[in-house]
Amino acid sequence: MSRKAAMGGARQPVGGATTTTTTTSTISTEDMCPVCKTIRYLNKDMEFLINPECYHSMCSNCVNRLFNDGPNQCPYAGCNKTLRRKGFRSAFFGDLGVEREVDIRRRVAAVFNQGEDDFETTTDYNNYLQMVEDLTFDLVFGTDRKRQEAEATLQRWEAEHTAQIEQNRRQGREADEMARRRLRAEKDAARLRRIEAVREAEEEKRERALTREAELDSIAQAPEGQGSSRVQLKRRGLAAAAGVNSAAPVATAAATDVGKLSIRGLKEKKKAVVHEGPYDPFGGLDFTPSRYRLGPDLKHQRIEDLRATMRYNPGGFRFEDWTAQLMFEAFAGLGVFVEDEKEVGIGLEAGRVASIGAGIAAVGDRMELD
């Protein structure tokens, strides 16, 4: 994106960048490249580029001329930074100081990307934010020495916590995705509700007509008046069904603390764990028998006889399966004590069970007890 904005000489960026003060030339810096002194009148599409090494601005012609053949020194007087062609880009902000600060902040944020959920208390989070801000301030506005220290801290932090940083980055991306999905789902839900409402209104009209007929019918038989209550329940049921469909479960990246993390200058901090544990194909079930062991040393005459008669077993019948079944049935329920476990009242109620027979006999006879 080419920058046509003013170069904003209002604020003087301190430290690390020295600008050449423009002379009392009537031509503003926007229209003249300080290096080659070309003016816009001569080069209509003049574009200014900067290099984040020193944030010195020059026109693209100069950049090409000076750096196309390899790295070179920055042409600004007093700046002896070695620049490369690929480092150059156009600045987003007119004020280069702002541009520089934004770049620094971006870099810091990429490294210190913990979210509020990663901390136990808000105070801890605030402390963390303070620390980061201090560091940033040092990087942007500090003296040379301060800056170097801060830079060193940043590097060291990044090296130590690459994994965690990557994780947080991913989390951030996921959270975005979740938010997007949530939005979409809410839209869908709203739309569905609208449709449902319309349809329900129509249904109601139809139902009313039907129930009127049904009531007329039921008067002829048993005047129970169940018709209308049924309709209401039906609608409730439908509403419940729609509710089931439209709810969109959103799982935000859960932050469970697993281990503490100690960093320089910081108090307690909790680590976010994204993993739910490895996938268990058995779904947590384990049917390893407790009282016996399966093995090839289990023998039965019947099996031996059968095996002797079968030369091949093309159907795939598995004697191991049968052996497993025999052993299972021999021991399953050995430790189950029915009398103890089935007291009257627990499990099948004696009274209710007895009325199974009565209930069946009662079918067709109003006088039976149930």
């Binding site: 329920g333 430790g335 007895a354």
Partner: protein
């Protein structure tokens, strides 16, 4: 908790059809009482609604007094006798052990929640056998089935089928001890040092017992198949079971944790929790305390089975003398006090289906359930108002024995 025990507890046999002896007795009493009450009603009102019309011969009653009803004990005796009939029929037809056993269990279960006075046991014998075939994945054609037993009318068997399903609460999976026996034999062989011949003999004898004794008692309600199997094996050869148990329950708790004087020896509560959880788990599964409890249970089951050992009891139940002395009077009694409306399963079945057919023709499915829940309770017996005799609407439903389209 042992994995295999936990899995057994999931079965319908455990959840729905296992009871404590007290529970079972209560259930039977309730069924008995309910039957008495309803039959009395029916008899009284059926007598009342039929005005004294000379040569009227109501069901077994010349006077408006009620007959003598069967006591629960007498019912139990009849049920046991008829169970042996089920087995006899199964043997006659040459069905597998599992099918015969399932039929017997179905039969017993049916008469826990129904009284023998309500539904005639004669008919139910074949019904249970028929359903047992289906439950055990054996395809039977109803015509062939009926032929096997010299019954020309297959419908009478089908008539009771749905009734049986309901009474069973649709739990068709019955777990038997036959495979368990083979498993025990494998485990014994693996221990080593036991004479093969001894094991084979014990297996043979135990199998014989399992085909008869548990089915003729309430064993299936109070014990698990594993325990029943070991009880039978114990009857065949006590020493083998002792060895097997000792081999299985081999865990010895670390010293200082369990001793002879501790309260748990009373056997009421599991051992108190210990610090060493792994050892604690093992102790509850294969430790000394549980071993003793298991042995006690097997012993109790053994006692129950020993009352109905095959050699003696088969003869007992088949003998004509016994029949004449014990069972015939009960049968007579039963005939006098049975439920007049339900003694003929076939009629009952046809009437119900006819009613269903009428329902299907006049209304749609939903309407049937909607308002009419209580309306047609009496419709099966052909009344729209207060109770009426059954005689009225019988004529209608006899054209299509298998009912019309639904």
């Amino acid at each position: 908790m042992a994995a295999e025990d936990a899995r057994y507890r999931q079965s319908s046999q455990y959840r729905l059809w296992s009871f404590s002896p007290v529970e079972l007795a209560t259930l039977r009493e309730k069924s008995n009482a309910l039957a008495k009450a309803s039959i009395s009603e029916r008899m009284l009102s059926s007598n009342a609604s039929r005005p004294a019309s000379g040569a009227n011969t109501p069901d077994g009653d010349a006077t408006p007094t009620l007959p003598e009803f069967l006591t629960p004990t007498e019912e139990a005796l009849l049920v046991t006798f008829y169970t042996s009939e089920v087995l006899r029929a199964g043997n006659h037809a040459g069905y597998r052990d599992a099918i015969k056993a399932t039929a017997a269990v179905f039969f017993r279960r049916f008469y826990v929640t129904n009284s023998i006075m309500t539904y005639p046991p004669n008919d139910m014998v074949l019904v249970t056998l028929f359903l047992a075939n289906k439950a055990e994945a054996n395809f039977v054609n109803i015509g062939e089935f009926a032929n096997k037993f010299g019954k020309k009318n297959a419908e009478s068997i089908l008539a009771g089928e749905f009734l049986l399903c309901q009474a069973l609460r649709f739990a068709f999976d019955v777990k038997h001890p036959f495979r368990a026996l083979k498993g025990a034999v494998m485990a014994l062989r693996r221990i080593g040092g036991i004479d093969d011949k001894r094991i084979n003999a014990a297996e043979h004898r135990a199998h014989e017992i399992l085909c008869f004794s548990p089915l003729m008692t309430d064993a299936y309600f109070h014990y698990t198949p594993s325990q029943i199997m070991l009880a039978a094996l114990s009857l065949a050869d006590r020493g083998l079971v002792e060895q097997l148990i000792a081999d299985t329950f081999h865990h010895v708790s670390p010293p200082g944790t369990s001793g002879p004087g501790t309260p748990m020896e009373t056997g009421d509560a599991p051992p108190p929790p210990r610090r060493d959880t792994k050892s604690e788990d093992k102790a509850t599964i294969i430790g000394a305390w549980i071993r003793d409890k298991v042995l006690g249970t097997i012993e109790a089951c053994r006692d129950m089975l020993s009352k109905e050992l095959p050699e003696e009891r088969r003869e007992h139940w088949a003998s004509q003398d016994v029949f004449a002395a014990e069972l015939k009077p009960l049968r007579k009694k039963l005939n006098k006090c049975r439920d007049p409306d339900r003694s003929n399963l076939l009629e009952l079945h046809r009437r119900r289906r006819e009613q269903a057919r009428i329902k299907a023709e006049t209304e749609d499915d939903d309407a049937e359930d909607r308002g009419a829940a209580l309306a047609d309770d009496g419709a099966v017996f052909g009344d729209a108002g207060p109770r009426d005799t059954k005689r009225r609407k019988v004529g209608k439903g006899l054209e299509d024995p298998f009912g019309g389209p639904l």
